[in-house]
C-alpha cells in the first residue's frame, strides 16, 4: 500500500465529508464540556482545506499537507486549529519532497504528527484530549506487521469512547474537573473520524 497524492486528497475530502455530517454532534459534545464550537471550528477549517486542495495539482505530498496545515492554522483558531495544524505540518515535513509514501514513511509521518500535537498541547494520554485517540492509533500502526483497516477503525472508535470515563486535565473541559466525566471528548471524536476516513480510503482490508 502506498499513500499517493490522489489517495491523500481523497483522505482529506472524506474526512471533510464526515466532519460536515457530524458537525452538530461534535458541537453537542463540546457544548457539554467545552464552549460548543468544536464542530463549527472543524467544519469551517476543513471546508477551507477542501476549497484549497481540491482544485490544486500537487507534485509532492508535503506540498499538499502543508496547504492543509496552513489553512487549518489560519482559519480555525481555538485549541483544535493549532493542534491539527501542527499535526499536518509535521506530517508534511516528514514527507519532504515525496510524491508518494510507502507504509513505513507514512507511519513515520503519523508518529511525527502525534509528537507535534503532544509538543504543542503538552497533553498526555489520559488527559481526555485527542491524544487519547492519536497515541494508541499510532502505536498500533507502528507495532503491527499487518495493519488491518477494520482494526484501525475499531481501535480509534474504542479509544474515542474510552474518553467518556476520563476526567479532563487539559483544554477547556478541565475547568469542569470531575464534571467532565460522562461525555466523549470532542477532539477525540473528530480524531476518530480522521482515522475512520483514512481506513475508508484504503479500500482493501489491509494496509501493507
Amino acid at each position: 500500500m502506498k499513500l499517493t497524492i490522489a489517495r491523500a486528497k481523497e483522505w482529506m475530502l472524506t474526512f471533510n465529508q464526515r466532519i460536515q455530517e457530524e458537525k452538530d454532534h461534535l458541537t453537542e459534545l463540546d457544548q457539554a464540556i467545552g464552549d460548543g464550537d468544536h464542530g463549527l471550528n472543524m467544519a469551517r477549517g476543513f471546508q477551507e482545506v477542501v476549497k484549497k486542495i481540491e482544485p490544486t495539482n500537487y507534485d509532492t505530498l508535503d506540498a499538499l499537507f502543508k496547504d492543509v496545515a496552513m489553512t487549518l492554522i489560519s482559519k480555525v483558531g481555538g485549541a483544535s486549529g493549532p493542534l491539527y495544524g501542527t499535526a499536518f505540518l509535521r506530517l508534511s515535513t516528514a514527507l519532504k519532497a515525496e510524491s508518494e509514501a510507502n507504509r513505513e514513511k507514512f507511519v513515520e509521518g503519523l508518529k511525527a504528527a502525534l509528537d507535534g500535537i503532544k509538543a504543542r498541547g503538552k497533553a498526555h494520554r489520559g488527559d481526555k484530549t485527542m491524544v487519547d485517540v492519536w497515541e494508541p492509533v499510532v502505536d498500533y500502526v507502528q507495532s503491527q506487521s499487518t495493519i488491518h483497516l477494520s482494526q484501525l477503525n475499531e481501535l480509534a472508535k474504542e479509544k474515542m469512547e474510552e474518553t467518556k470515563d476520563l476526567e479532563a486535565k487539559m483544554g477547556r473541559a478541565s475547568y469542569l474537573g470531575k464534571r467532565s466525566i460522562g461525555t466523549i471528548d470532542p477532539g477525540a471524536a473528530s480524531s476518530y473520524l480522521l482515522f475512520a476516513s483514512l481506513a475508508d480510503c484504503f479500500q482493501k482490508g489491509e494496509m501493507d
Binding site: 464552549d35 483558531g77 485549541a79 498541547g121 475547568y175
Partner: protein, 332 residues
C-alpha cells in the same frame, strides 16, 4: 436574540470598522486582518505589547490599545482565539526594535495560537516574550492541567507592563514586571444571566429565574456553584473571601481593586458591590490604592460581575499610576 447587528457572521469585522471610524487618531487596522494597532506604531525604542483573544469581551482588548498600555490587540471570532497569522501580523506591526511581549489569557486556544505566532516571529528575527495571565481563582490551580483562566486581571497586566515599556525598559524587564503582576493578581466572578453568541443565536446556557452562579467563566464556562440569588453584600463577601483564601492579605498590605461588570449589569450595582468590598478591606486594615469600577472585561450582555484584587508594591503602584491614553483606560 435581541442584538443590534447586521450579519451574525460579520460582527467582528464590522465592530473593527466602527472602532477605526470612532478613533481614527488613535487606532489603525492592518488591512485584511482583525488587528487594531496604535496609530503611531511601531514606536521605536519601546518594547511592543500585543494582547488579544476572542471577541465579545469589549472593551477588551482594543480599548486598551494606546500610549501607556498595549500597542496592538488581536480580535478573534466571538469567544474564539485569533489565529497565529493574525497575531503574527500584530507582532510585526508593533516591533520597534526592542522586541514584543505577548500578554495571553490562559486558555488552551489562546496559548497555542499565540505561541505559534511567536515562533513565526522568532523565525523572522523578532524577539518575542510571552506571559500568561491566570487570575481566575474559581478554577483549581495545578501544574498538571490547563490551570486557571485569564479574566479581568489581565487589564492590570496591560496597564502595568505598558507603563514599564514606556520607561524604555528592555523586553526582559517588561516581561518580569508583567509576571510580577500576574503573581499578585486574583479575580473571582459570578453571573446572573447568560449571553448569546451572535452566530449561535441562542444563549449558551440557562439559569433559573432566581438562580445565580459563582465562579462562572467569561465565555459562560460553568462555575463552581449555583445558588439562589444572594444579596450583593453576600456575593461580595464570597468573591473576596475566595480570593483571600488563595492570596492572603495582611494589615497594611496595599491593593488595587477592580469591580468589573460582565456587560449586562448596571454600573449602579457594581458600586453597591464595591461598597461592601471597600468595607471588607477597611476591616482588615488593607490600604486601597485605587479602585476601578466599570465594564472592563465583559462577556457580551451577561449580567454579573467579578472582583479583582492586585497586591501592590512601590514599583507596581507607581506603574499603575502612570498615564495612559487607551480609549477605555484613560489616566493622566
Amino acid at each position: 436574540m435581541k442584538k443590534l447587528i447586521n450579519d451574525p457572521n460579520a460582527v467582528v469585522q464590522e465592530m473593527i470598522e466602527g472602532m477605526i471610524a470612532a478613533h481614527p487618531d488613535k487606532l489603525k487596522t492592518i488591512p485584511g486582518t482583525t488587528v487594531l494597532v496604535r496609530k503611531d506604531a511601531p514606536v521605536q525604542g519601546k518594547v511592543g505589547l500585543v494582547s488579544g483573544g476572542g471577541s465579545g469581551h469589549e472593551p477588551a482588548h482594543a480599548g486598551y490599545v494606546g500610549k501607556g498600555m498595549l500597542d496592538a490587540a488581536v480580535a478573534g471570532e466571538v469567544f474564539t482565539s485569533p489565529t497565529p497569522d493574525q497575531v503574527f501580523e500584530a507582532i510585526k506591526a508593533v516591533d520597534g526594535g526592542k522586541g514584543v511581549l505577548l500578554i495571553i489569557k490562559n486558555y488552551t486556544g489562546d496559548v497555542l495560537n499565540f505561541e505559534m505566532a511567536a515562533e513565526m516571529a522568532e523565525a523572522e528575527g523578532i524577539k518575542v516574550a510571552k506571559v500568561i495571565v491566570n487570575d481566575d481563582v474559581a478554577v483549581e490551580d495545578s501544574t498538571y492541567t490547563t490551570g486557571r483562566r485569564g479574566i479581568a486581571g489581565t487589564i492590570l497586566v496591560h496597564k502595568i507592563a505598558g507603563a514599564m515599556a514606556d520607561t524604555g525598559a528592555s523586553l526582559e524587564e517588561v516581561e518580569a514586571v508583567a509576571k510580577k503582576v500576574i503573581s499578585n493578581v486574583r479575580t473571582m466572578g459570578m453571573a446572573l444571566t447568560p449571553c448569546t453568541v451572535p452566530a449561535a443565536g441562542k444563549p449558551g446556557f440557562e439559569h433559573g429565574e432566581k438562580e445565580m452562579e459563582i465562579g462562572m467563566g467569561i465565555h459562560g464556562e460553568p462555575g463552581i456553584e449555583k445558588t439562589e440569588i444572594q444579596p450583593a453584600n453576600q456575593v461580595a463577601e464570597t468573591l473576596v473571601n475566595k480570593i483571600l483564601e488563595d492570596m492572603p492579605l495582611v494589615e497594611k498590605d496595599r491593593v488595587a481593586i477592580m469591580i468589573n461588570g460582565l456587560g449586562g449589569t448596571p454600573i449602579m450595582e457594581l458600586y453597591i458591590v464595591n461598597k461592601k468590598v471597600a468595607e471588607m478591606m477597611k476591616e482588615k486594615g488593607i490600604d486601597v490604592h485605587e479602585t476601578f469600577v466599570g465594564n472592563y472585561m465583559t462577556s457580551l450582555e451577561m449580567a454579573g460581575c467579578s472582583v479583582t484584587l492586585l497586591k501592590l508594591d512601590d514599583q507596581l503602584a507607581e506603574l499603575l499610576d502612570a498615564p495612559s491614553d487607551a480609549i477605555a483606560f484613560k489616566k493622566s
